[in-house]
C-alpha cells in the first residue's frame, strides 16, 4: 500500500488510528458547548485547504482500508447494497458526479477520460482500471451505484422525488449508525425518520423536507450528525447488533480513552441532473477520545456537550449506558475555561 493510505482494520484487531494530520483535520461537529437537533444545513462549498471540506468528496488516509472493509461487509450481506429498478439512472448520475469530482480534485490518484460515451476510469489507490460505456450497465461488473460506491468512502442513499416527498429507493450502506437499508428502502422522508424522538414535534423534518425538495443541481448542501461508537467499527448495523452490542458493556475507566470513539457523519446532499433524484452521501469519521482531547478546545467542549445532553437523546444515540464513564473521563480535560465559537480548533 502506498504511503498515502493506512494499512488498518475496523474489525477484529481494530488497528485503525488517526495520524496527527488526520486529528488536526477531524470534522468536530459541535460549534457550541451544547447540542440539540437542528436542520443545520449550509452550502457544500470548498472549505479551507487541507480540511475535510476542501473537496466535494474527501479522500483521506483511511480510504483503502475503508474500501476493504466495505467489500467484506458486502460479501457477508449483499442486502447492504440495493437499488429499486427505477433508480438506475440516478446511479449513473452519481457515478458521473463522483468520477468527475475525484479526477478533478485528486489527479494524482484518479483519472477519467471521455470519448463520447466511451469512458476510461483509473483508480490508482485501489488499482482499478475500467473502460466502459456510460449509461450501458452491461459494460460494468455491477450496477453503476454499486460500482462507484465500492470505490468511495461513506454510505450513500439515492432519493427519488415525487408526490412532494423524497423516497429512499437505492443505497450502499455499510458504515451506518444503526439503521437498516433493507428495512427502510422504499420509505418516504417522514417514514424513514419515524423512529427519531422529538424531532418530528419540533418540525425539523417538515422544514428539512421543504428545503430539500427545492435543492438545485450544482448547489449541494451539507450538515453534521454524530453519535458514539465503542471500538472503531464502521459497520454498526442493526443486522449485526448481536455481534457489536456486547462491546458496549466492557468499557472501564482504564479503556474508555482508547476504545470510545466519537462518530461524526458529514452528510452532503446533491441534486442529480438526469434523474432529478437527490444523492445523500453519509461520510463517517471516527476519532478515539484519546486522540480528540489532544485538541484542548474539543476536550472541554465534548465534556460539556455529553454532560448536558438529555437522556432521551443519549438513549436514541445508543450511549446512555456509558455516559457517566464518558463524562468522568472527559472532565479531566475541562478546566472550565471559555471556548471560542465555531468548531475549528483554536
Amino acid at each position: 500500500m502506498s504511503l498515502d493510505f493506512n494499512d488498518e482494520t475496523f474489525r477484529n484487531d481494530f488497528t485503525f488510528k488517526n495520524s496527527p494530520k488526520a486529528i488536526k483535520r477531524f470534522p468536530f461537529p459541535f460549534p457550541e458547548d451544547s447540542y440539540m437537533y437542528s436542520v443545520n444545513m449550509e452550502p457544500h462549498v470548498p472549505g479551507p485547504k487541507g480540511s475535510v471540506f476542501e473537496h466535494m468528496f474527501d479522500v483521506d488516509e483511511h480510504y483503502v482500508a475503508e474500501m476493504r472493509d466495505r467489500a467484506q461487509v458486502l460479501a457477508d450481506d449483499p442486502l447492504r447494497c440495493q437499488s429499486l429498478p427505477h433508480m438506475e439512472l440516478a446511479g449513473w448520475d452519481l457515478l458521473e458526479l463522483i468520477m468527475e469530482s475525484k479526477a478533478r480534485d485528486y489527479p494524482q490518484w484518479f483519472e477519467l477520460h471521455k470519448n463520447g460515451n466511451h469512458w476510461h476510469w483509473i483508480n490508482r489507490p485501489l488499482q482499478i482500471e475500467q473502460k466502459f460505456t456510460f449509461m450501458d450497465p452491461t459494460t460494468l461488473p455491477c450496477g453503476p451505484m454499486e460500482y462507484i460506491t465500492r470505490q468511495t468512502q461513506g454510505d450513500f442513499t439515492l432519493q427519488d422525488q415525487r408526490d412532494e416527498n423524497l423516497w429512499v429507493e437505492a443505497g450502499m450502506v455499510t458504515t451506518q449508525a444503526d439503521w437498516s437499508l433493507d428495512f427502510d428502502i422504499g420509505m418516504n422522508f417522514h417514514q424513514w425518520h419515524a423512529p427519531v424522538p422529538k424531532a418530528h414535534e419540533m418540525g425539523v423534518f417538515d422544514r428539512a423536507l421543504k428545503f430539500l425538495l427545492k435543492l438545485q443541481h450544482g448547489a449541494p448542501v451539507r450538515r453534521f450528525n454524530w453519535t458514539m461508537t465503542v471500538d472503531p467499527l464502521l459497520d454498526t448495523s442493526p443486522e449485526n447488533y448481536p455481534k457489536w452490542g456486547p462491546g458496549k458493556t466492557t468499557m472501564t475507566p482504564e479503556t474508555i480513552g482508547s476504545r470510545q470513539h466519537l462518530r461524526v457523519e458529514l452528510q452532503t446532499l446533491h441534486r442529480l441532473p438526469r434523474s432529478n433524484a437527490i444523492a445523500f452521501p453519509i461520510r463517517c469519521y471516527l476519532i478515539r477520545f484519546e486522540e480528540l482531547v489532544t485538541v484542548p478546545k474539543w476536550g472541554r467542549r465534548l465534556h460539556r456537550v455529553i454532560r448536558d445532553i438529555p437522556d432521551e437523546l443519549a438513549t436514541y444515540k445508543g450511549f446512555l449506558r456509558n455516559k457517566p464513564l464518558m463524562v468522568d473521563y472527559l472532565a479531566q480535560f475541562d478546566d472550565g475555561a471559555p471556548t471560542s465559537p465555531g468548531f475549528w480548533a483554536d
Binding site: H190, P195, P246
Partner: protein, 203 residues
C-alpha cells in the same frame, strides 16, 4: 365490534380508515376474521347493486374468527373462502393483475392482512394508497427479524423469540410497507441472556 382505535404511533406505521364503497366498474374485497363485519356494514350502507361486480376473498382471522358463511350469503359475483393469506396470495396476485382501470380494492381485518394486500397491489404497479382499508379484530403483529430477515406471523408477546433464528426480539413500531412487517430487534444483544419478562401486548 367496530373499527379498531389505535394509540397515535410513529409516522412509518400506516393509519387505517373506514370502508366506504366508491364508484367503480368492479370491486375487489379482501378480508379476514372480524373484517367481514366491515364488509357487510359497507354493503349495507352502499346498497347491494355493487355485489354484481364484486369479488370477495376471505380467510379466518389469526384468532380463529371465521365469518365466511355470512360473507358468502351476501351473494357477490365471486366469493372465495381461503384457509390463509398464503393460500390466497396467488389468486390475489392474478386478480389484481387482471383488474381493469376503475376497479376499487378494499381490505378489512388485521394489520398483517392489510399490509400484505397493499404489498401485492403495489407489486402490480398500483399506488399503495389506492387501497381502501379498515382495521378490525386481532392486533397481533407481523414482525421481521432485522438480523436473520425471517418474518414471524401473529406475534402476541413482546419480547418474543424469532420463529426462524431464535433470537429474543423486541417489537418496534417502525413499519415497512415494502416488507409488510414491523421490525424486531434483538433485546439482549448488549447483555446476552438478560431478557425481560415477555408481556402480551397484541391480542
Amino acid at each position: 365490534m367496530t373499527k379498531t382505535e389505535f394509540e397515535p404511533s410513529i409516522k412509518s406505521r400506516p393509519v387505517y380508515g373506514v370502508l366506504e364503497a366508491a364508484p367503480g366498474l368492479a370491486h375487489l374485497i379482501v378480508a379476514d376474521g372480524e373484517g367481514a363485519d366491515a364488509v357487510t356494514e359497507m354493503i349495507a350502507r352502499a346498497g347491494t347493486a355493487m355485489l354484481a361486480s364484486t369479488h370477495i376473498i376471505y380467510m379466518p382471522g389469526p384468532n380463529g374468527c371465521d365469518k365466511s358463511a355470512a360473507l358468502q350469503a351476501l351473494g357477490a359475483a365471486q366469493f372465495r373462502s381461503s384457509p390463509s393469506f398464503a393460500a390466497a396470495s396467488s389468486r390475489l396476485a392474478k386478480v389484481v393483475a387482471d383488474a381493469h382501470m376503475g376497479t376499487q380494492i378494499y381490505v378489512a381485518g388485521t394489520e398483517g392482512l392489510i399490509a400484505q394486500v397493499c404489498q401485492a397491489v403495489a407489486a402490480q404497479g398500483l399506488p399503495y394508497e389506492s387501497v381502501h382499508t379498515e382495521h378490525r379484530g386481532s392486533t397481533v403483529r407481523r414482525v421481521q427479524c432485522v438480523h436473520c430477515k425471517g418474518i414471524t406471523e401473529n406475534v402476541t408477546h413482546d419480547p418474543f423469540k424469532c420463529s426462524h433464528c431464535g433470537l429474543s426480539l423486541f417489537v418496534r413500531d417502525h413499519f415497512s410497507r415494502r416488507i409488510a412487517a414491523f421490525q424486531g430487534v434483538n433485546i439482549d444483544a448488549e447483555d446476552p441472556g438478560l431478557v425481560p419478562d415477555s408481556v402480551e401486548r397484541f391480542k
